[in-house]
């Protein structure tokens, strides 16, 4: 213990005496520093390198499958309903050729960004091209909410700068902020959906005691899940459970170790279940849960240390 050393103990006493005038503000400053440490934690750059692979490879999969309706949207310009930012920037409806060029650019620059070539430039080009793609997939009426965290990840990742797989020993607070923002986006996707249910339904119990899952099963349920329509009580219990864990999702920002793994595994199981039952996969959010995990551990040891 440092206090056993008489010199250190003397120095601590001196410090205590000399800061008496600032006693009222010291705890406040401590709390502020604790918040900044939480908000911009030092995390290994190797974690960034792995997360980038997850995100940029997933964006390629996304534009080819989940949000693959942009090229067909080139055939339906009359149905373009531009979102606020698209109107502000005067972004016109997409043409088929324009969509194909955009797709090619996203794939090329995602590959570069995932591998770590021209990291900043390729990252920012993905932010712009994928952002445009999002305006064109979401700007035709229906806005999917599962893309919020993914779009935020595409925006904040290039702010980190250069990160390599062998940077396991180098930590960065810039990276910590970017990851924290992605984590907050993931959690708010669930937490604010409870708020929205409250606002849209007027009374949250109307939502929980209502027929939302019945409605979803009837409209898009898988054949194996249709028999559950015979047990509305069970589906209502499912709605209450959904509300409960969506409300508790911010816990993920504050727990560590096994508890954190447990929370992540729980949400993965939830999404697997809704996918099997309703075809709702929520993969763009699911992939962003990776921001909660020590991904650098996936790197083989011989590449990991710098």
């Amino acid at each position: 213990m440092p206090a056993n050393d008489p010199k250190t103990a003397r120095s601590m006493r001196t410090k205590t005496l000399s800061t008496t005038g600032a006693e009222a503000t010291a705890p406040e400053a401590g709390r502020r520093n604790a918040f900044i440490r939480w908000f911009t934690p030092e995390i290994p750059l190797a974690r960034v390198a792995v997360f980038r692979v997850f995100i940029y490879v997933f964006i390629i999969i996304d534009v080819l499958t989940i949000s693959g309706d942009v090229i067909p949207h080139g055939w339906t310009p009359d149905l373009y309903q531009p979102l606020w930012l698209a109107r502000f920037l005067h972004i016109p409806p997409v043409s088929v050729l324009g969509a194909q060029i955009l797709l090619a650019a996203i794939i090329v620059f995602c590959l570069l960004a995932a591998v770590g070539i021209l990291q900043r430039i390729s990252g920012w080009i993905v932010t712009i091209t994928f952002g445009l793609w999002m305006f064109y997939t979401q700007g035709y009426g229906y806005v999917a909410h599962d893309h919020m965290a993914l779009v935020i990840a595409a925006i904040v990742l290039p702010t980190i700068g250069v990160a390599r797989f062998r940077d396991g020993g180098v930590t960065s607070a810039k990276a910590g902020w970017a990851f924290r923002v992605v984590q907050i986006s993931v959690v708010l996707t669930y937490f604010y959906s409870v708020l929205m249910k409250w606002i849209a339904s007027g009374n949250i119990t109307h939502w929980a005691n209502g027929a939302v899952i019945i409605w979803a099963l009837m409209r898009r349920g898988a054949e194996w899940s249709k028999p559950f329509l015979e047990w509305p009580g069970l589906l209502i219990a499912g709605q209450w459970a959904t509300l409960a864990f969506e409300f508790l999702s911010p816990v993920a920002l504050f727990v560590k170790g096994r508890w954190l793994y447990g929370v992540v595994a729980f949400f993965m199981l939830f999404h697997l279940m809704t996918y099997l039952a309703l075809g709702i996969h929520f993969l763009p959010t699911v992939i962003c849960w990776a921001a909660f995990l020590p991904l650098e551990k996936l790197i083989p040891k011989r590449f990991a240390i710098r």
Partner: protein
């Protein structure tokens, strides 16, 4: 975060923890990051209370947010096309691969399409371009199937309602 894992990283050659190099942030760097996060949070929160998707990616999280009545109806929008030489209209897949747009997109601007049925021409054109070997539809029919619920159980067969029709040009 599992930042504590970092200290467990040990250099195999020296046996010492390797998490020594740090890249701390300046006041300005922390400031703009804090400011940008706060602005985004305010926009996202306003998006919820204003119940608007317009601020995407920071819009409202309305997916499945509206309460449904256990004794209400379950509506689903459908699309049919009358082809030459066929007795009855044929149900089309309401998705981007068939007509260039998904059911959810049309449902989100349903009032507009119902009051401007000429927008169904766009769907007919898309169908034609996406199925160049198939006959061209003569009429597009936007419809809705309605299933009645009683205590959460469906009652009777779903009924069909025509929302809009359009003679294809």
């Amino acid at each position: 975060m599992v930042d504590s894992d970092l200290t467990a990283e040990v250099d195999p050659t020296t046996g010492r923890p390797t998490a020594s190099a740090k890249e701390p942030l300046s006041g300005w760097s922390i400031g703009w990051r804090l400011g940008a996060t706060l602005v985004a949070l305010v926009i996202l929160t306003c998006g919820q209370f204003l119940n608007t998707n317009d601020f995407f990616p920071l819009g409202s999280l309305t997916q499945y947010a509206t309460a449904k009545d256990l004794n209400g109806t379950v509506n689903s929008t459908c699309l049919e096309a009358q082809f030459p030489g066929e007795d009855e209209p044929r149900r089309l897949g309401f998705n981007a691969a068939t007509v260039g747009i998904e059911r959810g997109d049309i449902e989100s601007q349903l009032d507009r399409v119902v009051s401007h049925p000429e927008l169904l021409q766009t769907l007919a054109d898309s169908y034609e371009r996406l199925h160049p070997d198939d006959p061209k539809p003569e009429e597009m029919i936007l419809c809705r199937t309605v299933t009645q619920l009683e205590n959460g159980h469906s009652v009777g067969e779903p009924t069909k309602k025509i929302l809009a029709t359009w003679e294809v040009k």
